[in-house]
């Protein structure tokens, strides 16, 4: 090979780009994300405070807003624990045992993620409304599913169905069954093994799944909108309340309630980043969603 002339300028690393290209790409990225992500989020808070702090506080403490907040918390408090129990059961069966049809089962568990939110609500209306399969029978018993909190809970469970399971399954698969087998051979029963060996090993992964599940449960709009019936003070969750206020041109009210959900989103992101940074080795390797 020909030696390079000694007086040639110092050459840049051949596996990176010229400085100006690098900074151009960085600026494009930051500018794009500022316009697409930061600006809309900031505008939510500014919109809520547009008429001062007094109007903001009045909007979030008004009776219908409080009812919406209560319902949202209630729905999440039912839907998230149910999906946690399901996620743990599914992960135990799938990760700790070898059986046929496993990959089909995993695909089916992931299914709700590829269904449109509106369709997620629609399926429960088709089943449980007065014109649905089970509707007339339930109606005779005096049970109302659609246009009530029950329907909202069902739709919320559906859209958040895979979150916990898809976090736990790969994590528990990576961990294998050695520790559990040791516990069993030392005389522990199934529940002792689960609570003292398996659960401590997946705590952070479980928390990660719960975090994402909860954010979606509290923020879901499309699915809940279809089954709710929009009865003010009764079947309105926070996102539905935002829609009503916005359509009534009460922008301060809409953005004030929206700012609560935006804060929840920011806290969720912060905790999620913290988990990824601090406990990266205790999460499933594909943990980023």
């Amino acid at each position: 090979m020909n030696p390079k002339p000694q007086n040639a300028p110092r050459r840049r690393d051949p596996t990176t780009e010229p400085v100006w290209v690098r900074w151009l790409l960085i600026l494009i990225t930051i500018g794009y994300l500022l316009a697409m992500l930061v600006l809309p989020t900031v505008s939510v808070f500014i919109g809520g405070l547009a008429k001062g702090i007094q109007a903001y506080l009045a909007a979030v403490s008004e009776e219908d807003a409080l009812a919406a907040i209560r319902l949202t918390l209630l729905v999440a408090a039912i839907a998230v624990p149910l999906n946690v129990v399901f996620g743990l059961a599914a992960a135990w069966a799938i990760a700790k045992f070898e059986f046929r049809g496993k990959s089909l089962l995993i695909t089916l568990i992931d299914l709700p993620f590829s269904v449109s939110p509106v369709i997620s609500g629609l399926i429960y209306v088709l089943l449980y409304s007065v014109h649905g399969w089970f509707g007339p029978a339930l109606d005779a018993l005096g049970i109302k599913v659609v246009f009530s909190a029950t329907g909202i809970v069902l739709a919320t469970i559906f859209v958040t169905f895979p979150f916990v399971a898809r976090e736990l399954i790969p994590l528990m698969q990576e961990q294998g069954t050695d520790e559990e087998q040791a516990a069993i051979s030392l005389g522990a029963n199934g529940f002792q093994t689960f609570f003292r060996v398996t659960l401590p090993n997946v705590t952070w992964g479980l928390l990660y799944g719960v975090l994402l599940c909860n954010a979606r449960a509290m923020g879901e709009f499309g699915a809940v909108s279809v089954v709710s019936g929009h009865i003010r003070g009764l079947t309105n969750t926070m996102p539905l309340h935002i829609e009503i206020l916005y359509n009534e041109y009460d922008f301060v009210g809409a953005f004030a309630v929206a700012s609560l959900l935006a804060s929840l989103a920011l806290v969720t992101l912060a905790l999620k980043s913290l988990l990824e940074w601090r406990y990266a080795d205790r999460l499933a390797s594909g943990a980023r969603h």
């Binding site: 989020t41 939510v44 089916l108 449109s116 369709i119 169905f161 994402l212 923020g219 709009f221």
Partner: protein
């Protein structure tokens, strides 16, 4: 001790000393059936009451076709924008060091965390003719809110993280040696990117694109505020489902839903096959 793994003479699971298989698998299948499988089955069977010709008439009505075209078209535009900017973003986050990089990285997932209704009213207010951005674009004669352009914008927003998050890990694992080899053979950075890096990350890019597209097709919350919702013009398919439901046309609503699910399903299937083909191609080359 041998557990009864060969019940009915079928070896459908390997023996294990761990307990609880029957209980957990039973609960999993029960819960899955009640929440997901039975309701989806009800959806698939519902249009049957229309009969084949009724079903066909319901999904080929001009208003339905226009809505489907808009939903899939706008989702495609959003996914293409996300592929381009997602690739640049992933590249910048993996390859370059700059101030606040961890913060930028964390911010990417915001569209996953921010409720769609919140995103919807925020984008609408920003891009409305009297909004911060809308008034600037208005000077240029561009209208975003209450037009199909606004729909594409909202769908770009909600699909933003997918491409970044699928491409990022692949870029991270990319071996620097092949780039050094390309450079030593005389390729410039652009050619190296085009012929060495891009083919390697193409499957991930395609996956992210498809995920963003699939998510955008069904999106409702962020779109209805900004769309304007004019029949035939800016009415998306999920909104039409809601309208049919409000008119108690349950079978009609189910028919549109079935078509949307079918098209998305076929798309994901084709993508899966493409990826499998790409992987085999890759392995054959290696």
């Amino acid at each position: 001790m041998k557990p009864p793994s060969s019940l009915f003479g079928l070896h459908w699971r390997q023996p294990s000393v761990l307990p609880g298989f029957g209980l957990t698998l039973g609960f999993t299948i029960f819960y899955l059936s009640v929440i997901v499988l039975i309701p989806l089955a009800a959806l698939l069977l519902r249009p049957a009451e229309l009969g084949w010709s009724g079903f066909w008439a319901a999904v080929t009505a001009p208003r339905v076709l226009a809505a489907l075209r808009l939903s899939f078209g706008a989702a495609l535009i959003g996914a293409v924008i996300n592929a381009v900017f997602g690739l640049i973003t992933a590249w910048v986050l993996v390859r370059y060091r700059f101030p606040a990089r961890p913060l930028v990285d964390a911010l990417i997932d915001l569209p996953f965390a921010l409720p769609t209704a919140v995103a919807g009213i925020a984008l609408t207010t920003l891009y409305a003719p009297n909004g911060w951005i809308g008034s600037l674009l208005g000077l240029l004669g561009i209208k975003v809110a209450f037009t199909p352009l606004g729909i594409a914008l909202a769908l770009t927003f909600i699909g933003l993280p997918f491409v970044v998050r699928t491409v990022q890990p692949v870029l991270q694992d990319l071996e620097r040696e092949i780039e050094e080899a390309a450079a030593s053979l005389g390729a410039g950075r652009f050619l190296t990117f085009l012929y060495v890096i891009l083919p390697t990350i193409a499957p991930a890019l395609l996956t992210g694109f498809a995920l963003a597209f699939a998510r955008a097709v069904g999106e409702y919350g962020s779109v209805i505020f900004i769309a304007g919702n004019m029949p035939m013009k800016s009415e998306i398919a999920p909104l039409l489902i809601v309208i049919k439901l409000e008119q108690y046309d349950y079978a009609g609503a189910a028919a549109i839903a079935v078509v949307m699910l079918a098209v998305s399903f076929v798309m994901l299937l084709v993508l899966n096959l493409l990826q499998r083909w790409a992987r085999r191609h890759e392995e054959a080359r290696a």
